[in-house]
Symmetry: C2
Subunit: 310 residues, 2 copies
């Protein structure tokens, strides 16, 4: 199955310290990793991706990420040129080459490069890329002590699922980046967007949770079904926390005792300021901290973790 | 000013027959032109672009395209690393290298590559790319004789301007590509999307016009303000045609005597079938054909055309 990916005896190499990518069958240092400028994955954002973490030398929930990725590219009618087994092998090898024990590992399926003069996307040969770089934190661990300042966007709305399905992980971040600039202009560090109905959706790269009215809230729909989000819901259920996975407005955030963001890029990240006002007592709360601890502990749970042989 | 673009004595070269790109100060054959996989222009679609045509050895409305491009990148708070004069020189040189007398010339400004571990887009160094390839037709001239079969999407809506501003030309084509697949499944060749209010917007790479009730209709807002669209409105005014640049629903298309699409990639393209039904008598109509002729004639009008010295 993995015929298109040469099995190699890997060797961590200084050239790969900053990251390793796989492009067209070759492993390259991340700084040299390039894609065709005419790939419609770029020029039409006609692509999907997934990001999986490596923590302490182990992939976290790799099969869940591969399942979601398969759902995403199938929804877009993309056929990556590699089998799942071959993709998996490339992801492992990218990490091995870097020698990184904590890494941010991304795979991308694109529609590909149009043959000369062709506009029909059914006739393009689809492409697949992957890379591993050092672990990325949306909020760095030191900054998590004080907590993030989350702004609820007023000037931009989340792209509607009737236009682009957020469950198909995508690079359509125009609204999210616009929101980020709004947050900066209002003194915040990051942003959460509402939909046209005024319901809370998600932020640039993360899902949102609130602790309010004795329950743990997170939006039901109109968001990426994050693997970290799912993990938190599982960990919360195991602790007997009541979860309210429902649509809700920003008033729930406004009255929350705790708020946190979840992402493969940073785990569970406390929010201590919302639109300039303290959340609870303005410090990361006990539910957030307990779930964060449980989240990181899960990274060595054999049900979730898959060791890399370096 | 143009310091970062070396002036070169150009020479058409067979290596550039399929196209020439400018990346990081180098002119490259299009097949070798690549961008960093970590450019957020790709991984966040955090970028804007513009496309200008070369026809019979002349750029068409280049300054209008550069004006729009400047508006677009400013709206996204991007600062391309080249001056307008330098960009212009690169566009000319890309075409000269190909030797093409009809070409599709694209420039792209991106947010750029994040420094290691950085998530704040204000700290990225913005990038700029350009390329020239043979002229692209959304509908090829031969197929324009019969006319296109346009489908009004039912399963997907155009991304709302409250999320992503369509006047800032962008690669957020998820909705448009989804619509294209819907059109194919319904026997069409291309698609036009409605907004949440049921109003006609645009299609993948083109604006839409209808001839109905003695007037020329095109949507007022929620669409790219196409340069071809503008040219058609100017040519229509010069001929005393009444233009209705207003919001309208698909019922105007349904009762139209003529429909056509406009784009830098193909000019004025007749639509002869709408959702499987004939438009008018099912042949390209007289208004469409007159405007198409005037449009192509304008390409040698010195007010619009700028000659390239090959």
């Amino acid at each position: 199955m993995a015929t298109s990916t040469p099995r190699v005896v890997s060797q961590a190499n200084a050239a790969f310290d900053a990251g390793c990518a796989w492009i067209d069958g070759e492993y390259l240092p991340i700084a040299e990793a390039r894609i065709p400028i005419t790939d419609t994955g770029f020029t039409r954002s006609d692509c999907t991706y997934d990001v999986v973490a490596v923590w302490e030398g182990r992939f976290f929930r790799l099969d869940d990420h591969l399942d979601r990725f398969e759902h995403s590219y199938s929804a877009l009618r993309l056929k990556p040129p590699l089998s799942r087994a071959a993709m998996r092998e490339v992801l492992f090898e990218c990490v091995r080459r870097t020698g990184l024990h904590s890494a941010y590992v991304e795979m991308i399926a694109t529609r590909g490069v149009p043959p000369a003069g062709e506009r029909d996307p059914r006739r393009f040969v689809n492409r697949w890329y992957a890379f591993a770089i050092p672990y990325v934190w949306i909020v760095k661990p030191d900054d998590q002590l004080a907590g993030a300042h989350l702004v609820v966007a007023r000037e931009v709305r989340r792209i509607d699922p009737g236009s682009v399905d957020p469950r198909v992980k995508n690079f359509h971040w125009g609204d999210l980046v616009r929101g980020l600039f709004e947050a900066y202009s209002r003194g915040g560090t990051t942003v959460v967007l509402l939909n046209a109905a005024g319901e809370v959706t998600e932020g640039p790269g993360f899902n949102v949770f609130a602790v309010a009215d004795g329950a743990l809230w997170t939006p039901q729909a109109g968001v990426l079904e994050g693997i970290t989000r799912r993990t938190i819901l599982e960990l919360a259920a195991a602790r007997g926390l009541v979860a309210r996975v429902v649509p809700f407005g920003s008033e729930v955030l406004a009255r929350a005792e705790e708020i946190f963001m979840t992402s493969t890029a940073g785990g569970v990240m406390p929010v201590t300021l919302l639109d300039g006002k303290r959340v609870g007592d303005g410090k990361p709360g006990p539910v957030t901290l307990a779930l964060r601890e449980a989240y990181w502990a899960a990274h060595s749970d054999p049900r979730y973790a898959q060791a890399i042989e370096y």
